[in-house]
Symmetry: C2
Subunit: 208 residues, 2 copies
DNA sequence: GTCTATACAGGGATAGAC
DNA sequence: GTCTATCCCTGTATAGAC
């Protein structure tokens, strides 16, 4: 239907360029350390133009966050219907969670910052609730596995969920530091990390 | 030797009041969101006075960070000499790590932020190196446990260390959110959390 | 050591032409 | 929709009196 864009150099329209620049800068430097001027410069637009499209700096930030959230939210869907055993499903879940984040480092940095920080802003509470719902979904998957007897029934399902998510998040956030200090075999091999960690979580670390 | 201080209301000298105020504000709001004026107001001194004692905002921040690091660093010491089995030692380690952070939320927030973020600042790299050394110490404790046969030898010791630290850090950072969403039994009982998590890590989650 | 006053840069946001 | 120019405020930092 629409004509092919007459490729100007940017080739995406201004709003998108602003959103991309903002995502990048906010993710790297944090909200307060980024100025509208910096975003404008990187997006090749004027400051005033940004304020034309977004009511305020904060609302631009919220837009960026929402885009990131939409992108990451529906990862878990479809997992409930898989046929394989629960251990496999949990492994797939952990792996999917991890690679999604590694593939979109900016979006994940932004979301994590807001989820781990305790904000009073209503718009952001929504994101935290999103996360809470996803967490609950993981928990209930684990509960099913317990009913089926595949997972120990004396464990709190939430503890298991925390273990899976926590280790993933830690890995993502500290990967770069680990790479520097060498000696850590899984630092630049997320599959290796994932395999070993799930082995530990599933089977424990004590010798038998 | 020294005379008892003639208790003025503050009862600590200006520099300390500034450091305390700064720690509190930086921990809660982050570096960029805190202004010298805000610190001055809370500490009951003038802006200029802060700049008299600290060369710049950044150097004040570094001072606060260093104080926090000194306080938290030598937690692990003495653990190598304990007599009990490795499983107990690791449990004590995890527990100590956790309660230390819960008892000093501001210091831990500040340190975590800087450790998890990838900074280029040389002064801050020092803190990250500190953390790296502590991490290495935990790892080598685990390696000893493997040599003794108490812990599975097919596991990478670093994976075990990551699992312990990651779950603790996640717990600390998300405790408040968990408390809101109820249904999470260990949200306001860190001992319960610690016990259950170590049970999971030591024994795994699969039924047998 | 502590203050008041001030310099000066950069921030967010608006006005108005094109 | 996009720009240039501008407003006003707040931020860090300094000067100089006490």
């Amino acid at each position: 239907m629409s004509e092919p864009q007459q490729s100007k150099k940017p080739c995406v329209d201004a709003v998108d360029r602003v959103l991309i620049a903002a995502e990048d800068l906010f993710a790297t430097c944090g909200y307060d350390a980024v100025s509208i001027s910096a975003i404008a410069e990187r997006a090749n637009v004027s400051k005033a133009n940004i304020f034309h499209h977004f009511q305020s700096k904060r609302s631009l930030y919220i837009s960026v966050l929402k885009a990131a959230a939409n992108h990451s939210t529906m990862l878990l869907m479809g997992l409930e219907e898989t046929q394989s055993g629960y251990a496999d499903r949990l492994t797939m879940l952990a792996n999917g969670h991890l690679t999604n984040y590694l593939n979109h480092p900016n979006k994940s940095k932004l979301l994590m910052r807001e989820i781990l920080e305790h904000t009073s802003d209503a718009e952001i509470r929504v994101l935290q609730d999103d996360f809470g719902r996803n967490f609950a979904r993981v928990t209930s998957l684990i509960e099913k596995a317990q009913t089926d007897g595949e997972i120990r029934q004396d464990l709190d399902a939430a503890i298991v969920a925390v273990a899976i998510l926590a280790t993933n998040i830690f890995y993502i956030r500290t990967r770069e530091q680990m790479q520097e200090s060498s000696k850590i075999s899984f630092a630049d091999d997320s599959d290796l990390y994932s395999t070993q960690m799930m082995d530990l979580l599933l089977n424990g670390m004590l010798s038998r």
